[in-house]
Amino acid sequence: MADRSSHDPLHDPLAGIAFDRVPPAGAYGAAGEPGVGVSTAEEPFIALAVARQGHAASVVERLRRALGVELADRPHAAIEGGTTVVGTAPGRFLVLSRSEPDLAGTLRAVLGTEAAVTEQGDGYVTFDLSGPRVPDLLAKGALVDLDPLVFRVGDAATTVIAHIGVTLWRTGETSYRLLVARSLEAAFTRFLIASGAEYGLRLENQGSGGRG
């Protein structure tokens, strides 16, 4: 479909890119060392655990014992080895694993009837953002205080960026991870490019021009 044709192609990093395709990998915007790096992946294994009535505390305890993660009753990402557990609501945890193919099954085994577990690994695309200008870029979308002074490594938020629901957490000094609904990958990537172009943005993704 047509691009934003009225825009000056020299200044519009999205010129010529169809809005209904995931923009291709490459460098966007200002030249030089990119201020923002973006890489996307479908994190292979994600599952949601929701504590059943009255079991929130023991779910936290079971997850601690099984995964070695310390969970807090607030939006927070506990990262332990290849596993990350992100609190998204009271008694609700998104578990991400790099290595556990039957993550949901494992969690069911760990949590028994104390939690409802659903697979979510296909529901999200993971955006890994890194670079000195990431907070500035995210400030163009989120109305959450992501200033590195107050949003510490491990802090998480489920919020909305540019009309798109996002769960994000800070993974390192200058790195952040964002989960975005799969169907919105193209739209979200467009937002990142439009907003990150002034810092220079490097996008690495599957580059297929679309998912699936």
Binding site: A2, R4, S5, S6, F19
Partner: protein, 416 residues
């Protein structure tokens, strides 16, 4: 003094020395046949028609601030009769007819301007919904036209047809719809009512009701008690607050609706356009300001002001529809308190308390209703029976299930 070209000429020559107050700033008398609470368009129109049509002249309009300080003075001035449901459409069409002769009747130029309102559609389903509406309008004797994209483009070539996220497919046009100068409507009715003997009492807030044996027989005000044969409420956004003093709970929530005006410009758009894929509608005032608005802010409020998310939403809609307005500037933003009813349609009815009459629940659409609302409310007050075109606006319809829900969103006022 009758206004005319001659009166202007004469005053131009004599240094503007002959003008008289457009209405008397009356002090409240101890008693009236009818006391109307609320000096907005509806209250003043009601007083005018009570005097004019029903011969009831001993009437006071009690206004807590200055007349027109409520929603009458802060709306986006759109008048139209493009409603859908049988309970509504004939009423609004009657209002449209009254608008068409209003200025000559009132001897006041309210700048009723039938420059057409175009509701855009962006999908087949929306087109069919507009066809349904357009046909309902025709059934009520109103005008309507279903335009395709080519016809819309001929009217407004600068809309974003080609690059839009939700391409414009066409629109429903009502030619006879348009705008009216909101303040002038208030002043015109006030002046005409005053001429017929109605007292307009400003800076007088109704703070309670006088009761005798369960009946309401007057009002308490910040300027003393006033007795009345009948008390009629037309306080729009304050309906719940005032009704509460009579012990009533209403099917109404008060919400804020914002509106915006741009800096003055040479003509940009002629008629009124509403965006069908977002919350944005726009017209241009005779002074040149683009007057636009969108959705209500969405939470109960009496603050008469709103917040940024809705402003942004409206601007996004505006840019999506008319990307040429990017460099135009928003000059002023304000809010009004909307009496959002539970089905999105108004109430003109006797209250459950004898002696009290209700005119409320106009949501964001009561400006266009001003003449018919006044007409029908006066009819109800004078004759104690509803006027035919307002027969559906009963208070008990929520109990009986005869709802008039144009949008089909149910009992959630912030979605109407």
């Amino acid at each position: 003094m009758r206004y005319s070209f001659l009166s202007i000429l004469a005053n131009g020559l004599n240094g503007q020395s002959d003008w008289k107050p457009a209405w008397r700033d009356a002090a409240p008398k101890p008693s009236y046949d009818v006391v109307i609470v609320g000096g907005g368009g509806h209250g003043l129109a009601t007083a005018y028609y009570l005097a004019k049509v029903h011969g009831i002249h001993n009437v006071a309009v009690i206004e807590k601030g200055y007349i027109g300080s409520g929603n009458a003075g802060r709306n986006t001035t759109i008048i139209r009769s493009n409603y859908l449901l049988p309970g509504n459409e004939p009423f609004y069409e009657w209002s449209m007819k009254l608008w068409e002769g209003l200025e000559q009747e009132l001897n006041y130029n309210a700048m009723v301007s039938q420059r057409g309102i175009l509701n855009l559609y962006h999908s087949d389903a929306q087109r069919d919904a507009y066809a349904r509406r357009g046909n309902a309008m025709r059934l009520a004797g109103a005008d309507s036209e279903l335009l395709d994209k080519r016809q819309v483009r001929a009217m407004y070539p600068f809309l974003d047809f080609d690059n839009a996220r939700f391409p414009i497919q066409g629109g429903l046009l009502q030619h006879r719809a348009g705008t009216a100068r909101h303040d002038a409507v208030v002043w015109g009715y006030a002046r005409a009512a005053d001429t017929l003997g109605v007292d307009i009492v400003q800076n007088c807030e109704v703070t309670g009701f006088l009761r005798e044996g369960g009946n309401i027989v007057g009002v308490e005000t910040t300027r003393g008690a006033i007795r009345a044969g009948k008390v009629a409420l037309a306080v729009a956004g304050s309906s719940s607050r005032v009704a509460e003093k009579a012990g009533l709970r209403l099917p109404i929530e008060s919400h804020v609706l914002q509106a915006f005006v741009s800096e003055g410009l040479k003509p940009v758009i002629d008629g009124v356009i509403t965006f069908g894929a977002g919350h944005f509608y726009i017209s241009q005032s005779d002074k040149g300001g683009l007057v636009f608005g969108g959705d209500i802010d969405g939470y109960n409020s009496y603050a008469q002001r709103g917040n940024l998310p809705v402003i942004e939403d409206v601007a996004e809609g505006g840019m999506a529809l008319m990307p040429r307005i990017g460099r135009l500037r928003l000059l002023r933003m304000w809010g009004g308190i909307m009496d959002m009813s539970m089905d999105g349609s108004p109430i003109i009815d006797r209250a459950p308390v004898p002696g009290l009459y209700l005119n409320a629940g106009w949501c964001y659409g009561g400006f266009k209703a001003t003449p018919a609302s006044g007409w029908c409310f006066a009819h109800l007050i004078a004759r104690d029976e509803p006027h035919a075109v307002a027969g559906a606006y009963r208070l008990d319809r929520f109990r009986s299930g005869h709802l008039i829900d144009e949008k089909g969103v149910g009992a959630q006022p912030n979605l109407h």
